[in-house]
Symmetry: C2
Subunit: 440 residues, 2 copies
């Protein structure tokens, strides 16, 4: 018998590969943080001597979810203002609040609060888009969380950097500092076409090619953005990005609610990734991303919650539900975006987009053990005819009971194992006080 | 001091009336199943000697939610088939399954499963639309659940009745049997314009007027329904209902995704209630109900989950979220359907539509004590800037920790108090087996 760290026997194994198979009576063997085997449970019990043997009747085991677009420091501004037109929300609420608090400590505390929420809800990897990427990376590293840390580029000054030269210098420094980190990687996060000038765009193309880094950007989020680009540049933003050489397989374009058929084809033929944020798009009335059409055209959309100030949670199970439901109505086809497809978006397609599919996104030997167990045995999720359907259309984040990240248990029986929740909440309260205080 | 049964002190009191007020430092005094006072907590502690004194720091207390459109026996078919075109879903999956199992026992067991899920998620009242209303009513009565029980009318034979005469006879019998029931009332539930002929519609108009009963019907659910009505009757369904005298304040029209401006005005001026089921409409690709426009025009829309086979849960907090988000995108206005408005839809507007607003829908002296406490103190719902926003845009059903229905505790610390969950689940498993068995 082989000694291993962990053997998990769920009722249903949602391995994602091959072919979205749902396996019953199977077990996952984990050792040294890696998945070493997926095999029938009876065989597993004969072959392996596991230090920890976890039986999960009534549970589905699946890969940890990948939240491919977040602004996690903004979790501290969850619900600060809602139900407002976008520019009022930004100018009168978000930007003044950020001006009051934005700095490394705010960023650390916001990311910690987010990590707690993400783990409890079954998310084990995220792609981060915010300032102070050094403090962000440090916080993810401290908590052993898997993340792609964005290196910001934007035209105007912020507490992080004063001008494009500084943004790029600091980006390269943070990138170099994170080389060799097992759970962290980097990409560029230019904010959007309307906040990043052509010169910076050219530098991005050059550097992203030279360093093989992805470019994660808000693109075609609203009709207003598209109109203003036509006025300023005589082109739609995607056309401008194409002229600047940024339409390629390194582009992760977020939102993309304003797309022509030609633009969908452009993305497909250039292997552009589209990051779909349905709840944010709905909440801000940005428009509807034609995600079913994109999938049909060969684009591999991924899923993200966006920041907690425009959602207002980081719940990827809820986001899967919203994506699955909305795609049907938007395409006018109730067979569009079936549950298995949505689950793939939130796992393997997310992993691929971030260049992490060698490590995560499916439950296969050789990959890392980012695993979550969802309890389907209660009244809200019974009877079960199809566990994938149940996960996407009936389960909620509170059904996530066990979480492993890189083979290490992070959530046990619905509770965080190694995070000081009281301390996190106290710091959240302190920031709440500072943000709510009347302006001096 | 006055002796009372119960004094509740939440951190935030969302009383709905007056004016969507959110009160801090207030308490609710309950006695004999009724709310006797709402007042500052300090005064309450001096005035009342409560048998049970419940302090709920970090919690919002609000009226129990009203699910105004369900087919609860179908909870046993949750996830039986998804991601299919509507007629395939009905003809190849739902109707064959119903043929195999539909009868009083199936109905009882499905309703019990649903009651368990509804209570755990903070729903304390529903409006039911299914066959065997006698067995349905009996089950709600047995479990002390508040419900409007629909009396079905449909052209074709089912195990409940063979022809319109029988449907009407049985409806009147059930209606008479339920007279005087404190928690139950009745209404007619003709299925839809395309399954109920003109003659039955005329009988409905007459009887609903004579007995002052509401008419709760699926109307303008899909474009196909509207087209077929034009072909068969030369009129859109709403126009046909108007000619038949059914457009009035007794009509509860469900779905209503296909509306012209004139039809919106027709509903407003005739005080028609529109029951909005966003998740069902999305899942079946039925279309988008213009709910923000309806609210603006003076219609008072209500909220429902529809059956668990087309949602796939009975979660009213999730449904509020979907309604709030979707209305913004559909109307193109991020200020539309603010959180307070959505909460009102799910409480007082629902109660009013069912003629129950004298008893429920807001936390005011004289009303019954249908109350739920939602815990906002955890990482997913902190920090709190606005408890109503937090409830609608960040909380989920698992945050419902305490539920009282008619003053009686039904959920304590997230667990059902007086329902045999194991027995309910076992019966769900048995039905699952019968439904899944290969057809004989």
């Amino acid at each position: 018998m082989h000694r291993i760290d962990l053997l998990i026997e769920p009722e249903w194994l949602l391995a994602i590969e091959p072919d979205d198979a749902v396996l019953s009576g199977h077990a996952v063997a984990v050792d040294g943080g890696a998945i070493v085997a997926v095999l029938p449970a009876a065989q597993a019990r004969e072959r392996y001597d596991a230090a920890e043997h976890v039986r999960l009747p009534g549970h589905a085991l699946l890969p940890g979810l990948v939240n491919s677009h977040v602004h996690n420091p903004m979790t501290l501004m969850r619900g600060i203002a809602d139900d407002l037109p976008l520019m009022v929300w930004l100018k009168e609420h978000i930007w003044p609040a950020e001006a009051r608090v934005l700095g490394p400590q705010f960023v650390r505390d916001g990311v910690e609060l987010a990590i707690a929420e993400m783990l409890l809800g079954g998310t084990t990897c995220c792609s981060e888009h915010y300032f102070f990427p050094d403090a962000i990376a440090d916080t993810y590293r401290k908590h052993g969380f898997r993340a792609m840390v964005g290196l910001p580029v934007i035209d105007f000054a912020t507490p992080w950097a004063a001008n494009p030269d500084q943004y790029f210098d600091k980006a390269l420094t943070v990138h170099a500092d994170l080389a060799g980190e097992p759970l962290l990687s980097t990409c560029f996060v230019p904010h959007a076409p309307y906040t990043v000038n052509d010169d910076s765009m050219r530098r991005l193309r050059e550097l992203s090619e030279k360093l093989d880094l992805r470019v994660h950007m808000h693109v075609h989020e609203t009709a207003q953005e598209v109109d203003e680009s036509l006025q300023q540049y005589g082109q739609r933003p995607l056309a401008r990005l194409q002229a600047l050489g940024l339409i390629n397989e390194r582009l992760l374009a977020v939102h993309m609610t304003q797309l022509t058929s030609a633009e969908i084809e452009l993305c497909a033929s250039n292997k552009v990734t589209v990051i779909h944020c349905p709840e944010s798009n709905l909440k801000l009335a940005s428009g509807f991303c034609p995600v079913a059409q994109l999938q049909q055209a060969g684009v591999q959309p991924t899923l993200g919650t966006d920041g907690a100030a425009s959602n207002n949670d980081l719940d990827m199970i809820g986001e899967m539900r919203s994506a699955g439901l909305l795609a049907k109505a938007v395409s006018g086809n109730p067979a569009a975006m079936p549950a298995r497809q949505v689950l793939r978006m939130a796992t393997l397609q997310g992993a691929r987009a971030l260049g992490m599919d060698g490590a995560i996104g499916s439950i296969e030997p050789g990959k890392r053990a980012d695993l979550i167990a969802v309890d389907l045995s209660g009244v809200s999720t019974q009877p079960v005819y199809d566990p994938v359907s149940q996960l996407v259309y009936a389960a909620s984040r509170d059904h996530v009971r066990q979480v492993w990240l890189d083979g290490r248990r992070r959530v046990r029986d619905g509770e965080l194992v190694d995070m000081d929740v009281q301390d996190i909440l106290e710091r959240a309260r302190t920031w709440h006080g500072r943000i709510s205080a009347p302006a001096a």
